[in-house]
């Protein structure tokens, strides 16, 4: 006992206890529930093991896979657009010498709002009756209100607009940090070597920026893959599941329909999406760093 009290184990014991309580146990319990027909309204069901039944049902569940596919699509489009806009903003801000810090701060404003508020705000902008956008368009002769949040395609685009508005600055800031860290010499050498601005960007700046792009991609892919609040606020996944993403579906299954067992099974499948994206971007990050010979 005395040996234990003086040993290294006792020092990391608090961490182990905390991690067990907040991570490992909940993980185990949720994994267990995904093998049960657990319903919040019928606590007894927690102890009825049904094997892979939830998972089997999910494989044939059309709604689930549509939400899954829509999430992947949403993620791909949103990330790429955020990258393009963020890179553009970062390049522009990197060029200016006057008031750069002020602009950098201003740029972060969207990040300061809670996603719930962002959702509200954009819901108001896109509202077909009283929305700002439709009112604005009417000035230009668009008399029939456009059903921004009702039409399947438009609703998805609207949600994406809100998401991109609130998070492009993440890309911009990370890429700006990357741009500022690029050594000046190779760029000057390339200019003397005969490159025009585009060639300098393509051949020198971009390779140097790649690690930062992939870091931003990793962070944002985790963010977007769990997109919930903005969607929930703007459309609630509707109308008629037209904007359903994984997490709106899961939360409805778990809390509204009270099918916690099924919801947890969905979560475990969805987690693989996040893991896959993270793994992919990390792999690319390592490659980009290797190309620059950092490691």
């Amino acid at each position: 006992m005395k040996k234990f009290l003086n040993g290294p184990w006792v020092l990391i014991l608090p961490t182990i206890i905390v991690l067990t309580c907040v991570v490992f146990l909940p993980l185990l319990i949720s994994l267990w529930t995904s093998f049960t027909p657990f319903k919040l309204t019928k606590p007894d069901t927690l102890y009825r093991f049904v094997g892979f039944r939830n998972y089997e049902r999910l494989i044939g569940d059309y709604d689930f896979w549509v939400a899954f596919g829509r999430t992947v699509l949403f993620l791909t489009i949103a990330l790429n657009l955020e990258l393009v806009f963020g890179l553009g903003i970062a390049l522009l801000i990197n060029k200016i010498t006057y008031a750069q810090k002020t602009l950098r701060t201003l740029m972060m404003f969207p990040m300061m709002f809670s996603p719930i508020l962002v959702g509200f705000q954009w819901k108001y902008i896109f509202n077909d009756n009283i929305g700002l956008l439709n009112n604005f368009l009417r000035e230009f002769g668009v008399i029939n209100p456009i059903p921004w949040l009702v039409d399947a395609t438009l609703a998805n685009i609207s949600i994406m607009a809100a998401e991109i508005w609130s998070s492009t600055s993440v890309f911009a800031i990370l890429l700006l940090a990357g741009l500022m860290g690029i050594p000046k010499d190779p760029i000057e050498a390339a200019k003397v070597d005969g490159c025009n601005s585009w060639q300098v960007f393509k051949n020198i700046t971009l390779p140097f920026l790649m690690p930062f792009i992939f870091i931003a991609m990793t962070i944002r892919s985790l963010d977007v893959a769990r997109a919930y609040d903005i969607v929930q606020m703007m459309t609630g996944g509707g109308p008629a599941k037209r904007t359903e993403l994984l997490w709106t579906l899961i939360s409805r299954t778990g809390y509204v329909d009270a099918k916690m067992g099924m919801a947890n099974a969905m979560s475990y499948i969805s987690i693989f999406l996040s893991i896959a994206f993270t793994f992919f971007f990390f792999y690319k990050l390592m490659e980009a760093r290797k190309i620059l010979s950092y490691d």
């Binding site: 050594p183 010499d185 190779p186 000057e188 050498a189 390339a190 200019k191 003397v192 070597d193 005969g194 490159c195 025009n196 060639q199 051949n203 020198i204 390779p207 140097f208 190309i291 620059l292 010979s293």
Partner: protein, 364 residues
């Protein structure tokens, strides 16, 4: 192949005038070294020639063409940077061939020219490596190779050796000299190291505070420094410099140092000084020698002084001693033991002293 001309060129950083209306003509195939302490404007001048800094005033011409408004890529110059500035994501071969690839040269042509440059610089065996797998000296050679491959009108070197250790620096210095003989192109070379300047240059330009102090061959600058700054900057150890006033003693002009030591005015300068003039007189370490170990010069002035410190360097010994309250250094070429605190007689060669007006800093 081209000459480079700078006419009244100025550069401002905010309110600071880094380069002040300098005029300079660099001949075709000349090896010209810009040297001076940091902040003297030498790098700014080089970068203006390269096109990496805007020319605020004046004109720069390469050949007969005014290049003020041209982009760096349109000037056909190549530059070697202090930090090598290699592209870390490309192999040595790609680094060397990059400029040709950008210029859309044929693949075969690129390969040939890369190979040729690699042979000149002896880096053929590293062609497939990345810059991170090379030592400092090898990297610098790749950087030079990248410059050669383009066959530019002018080579620009921005302190290329200052990141290398002493031994490698000597070796690379020789290689640069040899390179110039092989490719015989105009070279503008910036350094803060006067030894590099002396050994490499056909002509040296000494700059200080944005102006050119003197232009001349290495020996010119050493033997006939135009200003006090040039005199102390060129040569190692630095020229000894003593502050003095010209006074009239019994109808004869004589120098009285600030410590009250009287030294005769060298014969050839006697008509150029006047009573009451504040001056500095300077002499090189080898022109004041301990009598015991050296030969008395024809025209000499002797003094007795205590040795503060002796540094035996093999072929020579540096002796630190006092001239009044000023510490000076004497260089003797006889391998004899000299001890600290030893009293020695020194003999100053008056024919080889330099006088500078304290007000203007100009040589008298």
């Amino acid at each position: 192949m081209a000459k480079v001309t700078l006419e009244n060129v100025s550069k401002f950083y905010g309110n600071v005038e880094a380069v002040k209306k300098i005029n300079l003509e660099i001949k075709d195939k000349e090896f010209l070294v810009l040297v001076g302490p940091s902040g003297c404007g030498k790098s700014s001048s080089l970068r203006m020639i390269a096109g990496l800094e805007e020319i605020d005033e004046g004109i720069i011409k390469i050949g007969d063409q005014t290049v003020n408004e041209l982009e760096p890529r349109e000037r056909n110059v190549s530059m070697v940077f202090q930090n090598y500035a290699l592209y870390p994501h490309m192999t040595v071969e790609e680094n060397l061939g990059f400029s040709l690839k950008i210029a859309a040269q044929e693949k075969k042509e690129i390969e040939e020219r890369v190979e040729e440059a690699a042979e000149i610089l002896d880096i053929t065996e590293f062609l497939q490596r990345k810059p991170s797998q090379l030592s400092g000296g090898q990297r610098q050679r790749v950087a030079m190779g990248r410059a050669i491959v383009r066959r530019p009108d002018v080579f620009l070197f921005d302190e290329p050796l200052s990141n290398l250790d002493a031994k490698l620096r000597n070796q690379m210095r020789t290689e640069i000299k040899r390179l110039h003989q092989k490719v015989s192109t105009t070279i503008v070379y910036v350094t803060h190291d006067q030894v590099e300047a002396m050994t490499l240059a056909d002509r040296i330009v000494i700059m200080k505070d944005g102006i050119i102090e003197q232009i001349g061959s290495p020996l010119d600058l050493f033997e006939r420094p135009a200003t006090k700054f040039v005199a102390t900057f060129i040569g190692s150890p630095s020229m000894n410099m003593i502050n003095a006033t010209i006074i009239n003693e019994n109808n004869q002009l004589i120098m009285k140092t600030d410590d009250g030591i009287f030294v005769p005015v060298p014969q050839d300068k006697i008509n150029s000084v006047k009573d009451g003039q504040k001056i500095s007189f300077g002499f090189r370490a080898e022109d004041i020698v301990p009598l015991r170990f050296g030969q008395k010069p024809n025209n000499h002035w002797d003094m007795k002084s205590k040795v503060n410190l002796a540094e035996p360097l093999g072929t020579e010994t540096l002796i630190f001693t006092n001239f009044g309250s000023v510490e000076i250094v004497s260089r003797m070429f006889t391998p004899e033991q000299v001890n600290s605190n030893e009293n020695l007689d020194f003999s100053l060669n008056l024919d080889r002293t330099y006088l500078f007006d304290d007000e203007t800093g100009m040589a008298i």
